[in-house]
Subunit: 190 residues, 2 copies
DNA sequence: TAAAAAACTTGAACTACTTCAAGAAAAGTT
DNA sequence: AACTTTTCTTGAAGTAGTTCAAGTTTTTTA
C-alpha cells in the first residue's frame, strides 16, 4: 500500500507501529484505467475507494440518456456509494476513473475486519465522513444561491488545476448546466 | 435524557449498562421554541443536536434576502454544521426550530469527552454520518434529474406527513423552486 | 373575538437557462 | 501522418422556471 493513505489517517488519529503493520498487510493498491467503471447502476456497492493518484467520478445517466457528474474524487479522497454500501441496496450511480488512477480498494468484509482489529479507525472514518457531509451541504448551498456563471467562476477560482484536468462537459454537468452554456460563459458570451 | 437517542444508538451498536449510565448523566434535553435560532450565520458551531421531538431546519439567507432551506431534521435526526464544527470556522448557515422542539444538545467538549469514555460511539457516529452523506448525494441526484413538479410529487409521496407539518414556502425552497410556483403545481396550473 | 401577522394564490411579464444542429478543434489511435 | 473519436463552440429558437404585485386565506396573538 502507498503511504498516502497512512498519512491521511494519521492526520486524524495516531497509529501504533503494530496497527500500521495490520493495515499494510490487509490493504493493497490497484490500478484503474481511464474510463473503467468500478460501480454501475443497479449493482450493490461493496467497496470503498481511496484515491492515491488520479481522478474518479460518480455520475448518473439521466432520463435523456446524458451523463451527469455528481461528485469528483481526487488524491486523498474517498469515493463510494454509502447508501448502497450500508443498506445493501442497488446503487443509483456509476463510479468511473476519469484518469488512469491508483486506488486503495477496500472490500466491505475487509474493512469490517480491520475496524474490529483497529477500533481507532472508526474515529478516522467518522471525522472524514462528517467533513464530507459538511462539504455536500456547502455544495447544495452553492447550487441554490449562485447563477451558472457564478458557479463556474467560483469553482474555477477554488480548483483551477482541476478545471485543466477534466473535460469541460463533466464540470458543466457537475455544476448543473449544459456543456454549451459553459462554452458561452468561457467565451464571455453571456 | 429521553430514551429515543439511546434507542437510536442501540440500533447500531450495543451499549453496556455502565455506558448507558455515562450517557444518561452527561446528556440532558432542552426545549427550543418555534422560530428560535440555535445557530446563526457567522457563528462557529460548537453543538450538535439530536431531535427527540419536533422539527428543525438549516437555512441560508440568499443575496436577495430570502430564506432558503437546505436541510430539515425531524425525530431521530442529527442536525449541525459539521464544517463549522470541525474546522472552527464561521458557519454559513442558520439552524432554527420550525416547531416547538425537544432536542439533546451536545457541546463539542462534552462530546469529545464522551467519545473518549465510550469509544464505541465513534462507530455509531461514523455509520450515521456516512448514511447522511449518502442521503445528501441522493438529494443532489434528485435536484439534478427531476423537474420542479417531479421533485414536489416525489417528496410528497416520500414524506406525506411532513408536507402537512411545515409551511409550503419552506418546502418550496428546500426543493429549489419558488413558493409561487409550488402553489401552481398544487393547483395543477402547470 | 378582533386585529395583526404569516402563509398561500393568481396572472402577466420576463429571463436564465436548455435544446438542437452543425461545424471546428483537439486528442487518441493505427 | 492519416484517420477516428472525443471534446468544444456558435447561433437560433424554445421553455421551465422566476419575479412582481395584489388579493385571499389561515394562523397567531392580545
Amino acid at each position: 500500500m502507498h503511504t498516502s493513505l497512512l498519512q491521511h489517517i494519521q492526520k486524524h488519529i495516531n497509529l501504533e507501529p503494530s496497527e500500521i503493520d495490520i493495515l499494510e498487510s490487509a490493504l493493497s493498491i490497484s490500478k484503474i484505467k481511464k474510463k473503467e467503471l468500478v460501480l454501475q447502476e443497479g449493482q450493490v456497492c461493496n467497496t470503498i475507494y481511496f484515491i492515491i493518484k488520479g481522478c474518479m467520478r460518480q455520475y448518473i445517466i439521466n432520463s435523456k440518456g446524458a451523463e451527469q457528474t455528481l461528485q469528483f474524487g481526487i488524491e486523498n479522497w474517498w469515493i463510494t456509494d454509502y447508501l448502497s454500501y450500508h443498506n445493501h441496496i442497488p446503487s443509483h450511480f456509476y463510479i468511473q476513473a476519469v484518469e488512469n488512477s491508483i486506488v486503495v480498494a477496500i472490500e466491505k468484509t475487509t474493512l469490517e475486519a480491520i475496524l474490529i482489529e483497529i477500533p481507532k479507525l472508526e474515529r478516522y472514518f467518522r471525522i472524514v465522513s462528517q467533513k464530507s457531509f459538511g462539504a455536500a451541504q456547502m455544495r447544495i448551498k452553492f447550487l441554490f444561491t449562485m447563477s451558472a456563471e457564478e458557479r463556474y467562476h467560483h469553482f474555477n477560482n477554488l480548483h483551477p488545476e482541476f478545471v485543466q484536468r477534466v473535460p469541460q462537459y463533466m464540470i458543466a454537468s457537475y455544476l448543473d448546466f449544459s456543456a454549451e452554456f459553459m462554452s458561452k460563459i468561457r467565451a464571455g458570451k453571456v
